[in-house]
C-alpha cells in the first residue's frame, strides 16, 4: 500500500508526545504512520498508576494508564492512521527509514514527507560496585514489572534518588505490598515535589539525604546493598557505610533523551544538562535543524507528560502547515502560550535555563502563596486542610471543587487558596488531589476530639467501625482511632474519616489497619505487638517498669525472656538513651511456668 510506505508523516514513538502529534496530523487529513517498539502503545503512560499533575485540559488527576487508553481510542476512530506496534525504527538512511517488525524479524522501508521523533528517554545508569547484578533495576523497569505485568519486583527495595520518579515509584511499591527500606539521595535536599515526598514519608519510608549506594552484594542476584554518607564533594565516606538487607536496588537518578535517530537524520544535538544531557537543537515549533524532522516529548528534554502532549500537538500542527500550506494557527499559538505558562513556576527553573540555551524564551512569574483564610472562624465546620505549599504546575483541587471554593488561578503554578465560606465539606478535593495533599478536618470541641479525613489508596480499605492506627507525617503511630466513615471514590483514591484526640488532630496524616497488618509481636505471652509498645512509649511510658505495669509486658509465663531485651531496645531507640541506662525490671520468680501446687511443696502433694 503506497500510503503506508510513502505517508505524509511518520511518527516514531507512541508515548503521549507521539500520540498527540499523530492525532493533530491525522485529524487534518494527513496520512500518518505511527511506529512503536513496545508491546502496546502509550509509552511511559501505561505503567503510571498515579494521577497526573498539571492542567485539567491535559488529563490532570487522571491516572497515566487511563490517559493512554483515551488517546488510543481517539486515534482508532481516525482514517489515514496506521499503527505499527512491536516495530522499531532502526535508523535513518539516505534512501529511507527502515522499520523492523520484531516478532517476524522483517523490515520495510518508509519514505515519509515528514518525521516526528518522539522516542522518549532511557534510564541513566549509576556507577557502583557490582551494579550489573540482576536485581539492580531502573525505576521505569520496576514500574513496568509491577504496574504493567503485576509481577513483584522484589520484597525489599533500596531506592536511589529522591526526584519525582524515585518518590512516586517508592509509593507505588508500597501500594503493591513491597517494602521500601530507604530512599538515598546524594544531594542535601529532596529532588522532587514536596507533596510526593510527604506521600512517601507518610508510608514510613526514611529519606536519607547526603547518602548514596556504593555496592551491590550478591553473586547471581542482589542480596544486599552497601550505602554510605558523602562529603561536600559527593565522595563516599567509607567509615559511614552500612549494609541493608535488600533484594532489589532501584535506580531513579534521571533520564537521558533518546536522540539517536534525530542525530542520524543530521539534526544538530547539544549538551544541555538542565534538559537531561544531549538534546536536539530545535525551534519553538519543535523543528530540528534537519528540515523534515521534528521532535516532541522527553527526547527534546526531560520534562513531563503534559508538556510532551503539548509539544506533540505543536509539532503535528506545524507539519500540517508544511504540507498543506495552512494550519489552525490560533490553536498553535495558544498551545505555545500554554507551554510557557506551564513552565513559569519555580520548579521549572532548570527547564527554563535549558531552553534559554536553545534560544527558546520561557518567562517566569512571581507566585502567589495561599493563606488559608482566617481558620479560627471556621472551627467546627468540616473543611479541607490543604498541605500544598510549593509552587508546582497543578490544579485539580481547583477544577474538581463543585462550589468553586479553591482557587489556583490563571497561573497554574500558584498555590491553592481556599475560601472556607464557599466550601460545603464534600471532600471531593481530597480524593482528586494527585499529591494526596488534601485532608479533611472538623473539630469536635465538646468531645475534645476531631474528625479527620485521610486520602487512602492501599488495600485493604478500612471499614466503618474498624479500629485503626493513626499515623503521623513519617508513618509513626500516634494513637489509635475508629473509622467513622469511608467515602468511596470511583477514581480509587478513597476518603477514610477517623476520630482522633484533639491535641493530635493536626498531626494525623495516615491510617493503618490494626488487625490485619500488625502481626509483629514483641511479647508472645501477652500478645503485644510492636505498635502496642511504640504507642505506649509515645504515650509517655518511657521506663521498663512503667511499661510493664501498663501493658503487662514480661508478666507472662516466659518471665520476660522473649520480650525484655526487645522492649529495652525499642525504649532505647525511641528515647535515644543507651540500653544500659534502663533498669531491666524485677526478675520475678518463678522463672518458668509453675503451678501454685508445685510451689506449695511436699505438704500439698501429700494431701492429695
Amino acid at each position: 500500500m503506497s500510503c503506508l510506505s510513502n505517508p505524509d508523516l511518520l511518527v516514531v514513538g507512541a508515548g503521549p508526545a507521539g500520540l498527540y502529534a499523530a492525532i493533530e496530523a491525522a485529524s487534518a487529513g494527513l496520512t500518518t504512520v505511527i511506529v512503536d517498539e513496545g508491546i502496546s502503545a502509550g509509552g511511559q503512560l501505561v505503567k503510571q498508576t498515579h494521577k497526573f499533575f498539571g492542567n485539567e485540559d491535559f488529563f490532570a488527576s487522571v491516572r497515566g494508564f487511563d490517559i493512554a487508553r483515551r488517546l488510543l481510542k481517539e486515534l482508532s476512530n481516525m482514517d489515514h492512521v496506521h499503527n505499527l506496534q512491536e516495530s522499531s525504527v532502526i535508523g535513518v538512511y539516505e534512501d529511507g527509514i527502515p522499520v523492523l517488525h520484531l516478532p517476524s524479524d522483517t523490515t520495510r522501508l518508509l519514505q515519509p514527507e515528514r518525521v516526528i521523533v518522539a522516542t522518549g528517554a532511557s534510564e541513566k545508569f549509576l556507577q557502583f560496585d557490582n551494579n550489573d547484578l540482576p536485581g539492580v533495576y531502573g525505576a521505569g523497569a520496576v514500574q513496568t514489572l509491577m504496574n504493567q505485568f503485576g509481577v513483584m519486583p522484589g520484597r525489599n527495595v533500596l531506592m536511589v534518588g529522591s526526584g519525582n520518579i524515585g518518590l512516586i515509584v517508592s509509593y507505588q511499591l508500597i501500594q503493591a505490598g513491597v517494602n521500601v527500606k530507604a530512599i538515598v539521595e546524594i544531594a542535601d535536599r529532596i529532588g522532587g515535589y514536596e507533596v510526593h515526598a510527604n506521600k512517601a514519608m507518610r508510608m514510613g519510608i526514611p529519606i536519607m539525604l547526603r547518602h548514596t549506594v556504593i555496592k551491590a552484594i550478591g553473586t547471581e542476584s542482589v542480596e544486599g546493598a552497601v550505602i554510605c554518607e558523602v562529603d561536600e564533594n559527593f565522595r563516599p565516606v567509607a567509615s559511614t557505610s552500612q549494609e541493608l538487607a535488600v533484594d532489589t536496588i532501584c535506580i531513579a537518578i534521571g533520564l537521558n533523551p533518546s536522540i539517536e535517530l534525530i542525530a542520524q537524520a543530521g539534526g544538530e544535538v547539544k549538551y544541555i544538562p538542565e534538559l537531561g544531557g544531549y538534546v536536539p537543537v530545535r525551534d519553538d515549533n519543535m523543528r530540528s535543524t534537519a528540515e523534515a524532522f521534528f521532535v516532541a516529548g522527553d527526547v527534546s528534554g526531560i520534562e513531563e507528560a503534559t508538556t510532551a502532549m503539548i509539544e506533540g500537538r505543536v509539532a503535528g500542527l506545524t507539519v500540517v502547515k508544511d504540507l498543506k500550506g495552512n494550519t489552525d494557527l490560533k490553536k498553535l499559538e495558544s498551545l505555545k502560550r500554554e507551554l510557557v505558562a506551564f513552565r513559569n513556576g519555580p520548579t521549572s527553573a532548570r527547564i527554563r535555563e535549558g531552553l534559554r540555551k536553545l534560544g527558546i524564551v520561557s518567562s517566569s512569574k512571581e507566585h502567589q502563596y495561599g493563606n488559608p483564610n482566617n481558620p479560627e472562624k471556621y472551627m467546627g465546620k468540616m473543611r479541607p486542610v490543604i498541605e500544598c505549599y510549593e509552587a508546582i504546575p497543578c490544579n485539580p483541587c481547583e477544577t474538581s471543587c463543585p462550589t468553586g471554593a479553591i482557587t489556583v488561578g490563571e497561573n497554574i503554578n500558584d498555590v491553592p487558596v481556599i475560601d472556607y465560606e464557599k466550601c460545603n465539606g464534600c471532600g471531593i478535593c481530597m480524593t482528586e488531589c494527585p499529591g494526596l495533599a488534601v485532608f479533611m478536618l472538623r473539630e469536635l470541641p465538646e468531645e475534645e476530639s476531631a474528625l479527620i479525613g485521610i486520602p487512602y489508596e492501599l488495600i485493604p480499605l478500612p471499614e466503618k467501625g474498624e479500629k485503626v492506627h493513626l499515623l503521623g507525617r513519617e508513618g509513626e503511630t500516634l494513637s489509635d482511632g475508629v473509622v467513622q466513615r469511608v467515602f468511596k471514590s470511583p477514581n480509587k483514591t478513597h476518603g477514610v474519616y477517623v476520630k482522633a484526640p484533639a491535641e493530635i488532630a493536626g498531626e494525623v496524616r495516615g491510617v493503618s489497619p490494626v488487625s490485619k497488618t500488625d502481626n509483629t509481636y514483641v511479647c508472645r505471652c501477652e500478645e503485644l505487638t510492636v505498635q502496642d509498645v511504640e504507642k505506649a512509649i509515645n504515650d509517655g511510658y518511657t521506663d521498663f517498669e512503667e511499661l510493664r505495669r501498663r501493658l503487662r509486658i514480661s508478666m507472662g509465663p516466659c518471665g520476660g525472656r522473649t520480650c525484655r531485651l526487645n522492649t529495652l531496645g525499642m525504649l532505647s531507640r525511641k528515647t535515644g538513651r543507651p540500653i544500659e541506662e534502663f533498669a531491666p525490671g524485677v526478675l520475678r520468680p518463678p522463672s518458668i511456668p509453675a503451678t501454685f501446687r508445685s510451689i506449695a511443696g511436699q505438704e500439698g502433694a501429700k494431701d492429695e
Binding site: 534510564e123 547484578l133 540482576p134 503485576g150 513483584m152 501500594q175 503493591a176 480509587k492
Partner: protein
C-alpha cells in the same frame, strides 16, 4: 517473585495460561507478558552471562533501550526479552557471550 493477586488501583487482566521452556525447565506464563516479566515472576532474574567476564546479568530498563536482557529465543540470539512477548511453546535460553550481531 510472585504475581500480584490484587492491587488498590489496577486490575490486572491476564491472558491465557501458556507454558514455555527455560533452560530445559517448563514454566508457566500468561499471554501478554514479556519473556523477561514471565521469568521474573518465576523468580528468574539472571538472564544472560556477559560476553567478557561472564557475569550474571538481568534486565535493567525493561523498555528495550539497554540490551541488558539479551537471550536466546527459539534459537535466535540477541533478543531483547523485555519487549518480546512470551508465546506458548517458546524455547528460551540464557545467552552466553555475544550471540551473532547484525552489522
Amino acid at each position: 517473585m510472585s504475581r500480584l493477586a490484587q492491587h488498590p488501583v489496577i486490575e490486572f487482566v491476564r491472558g491465557k495460561k501458556i507454558s514455555f521452556e527455560f533452560e530445559g525447565r517448563k514454566l508457566g506464563a500468561f499471554e501478554g507478558e514479556t519473556v523477561a516479566a514471565a521469568l521474573h515472576a518465576e523468580g528468574i532474574r539472571y538472564l544472560r552471562s556477559s560476553p567478557g567476564r561472564q557475569r550474571a546479568q538481568g534486565f535493567f530498563c525493561a523498555i528495550g533501550k539497554c540490551s541488558s536482557c539479551l537471550m536466546e529465543v527459539d534459537g535466535m540470539p540477541n533478543v531483547r526479552t523485555c519487549i518480546t512477548l512470551v508465546r506458548d511453546g517458546m524455547v528460551v535460553r540464557r545467552q552466553k557471550g555475544k550471540g551473532e550481531l547484525l552489522e
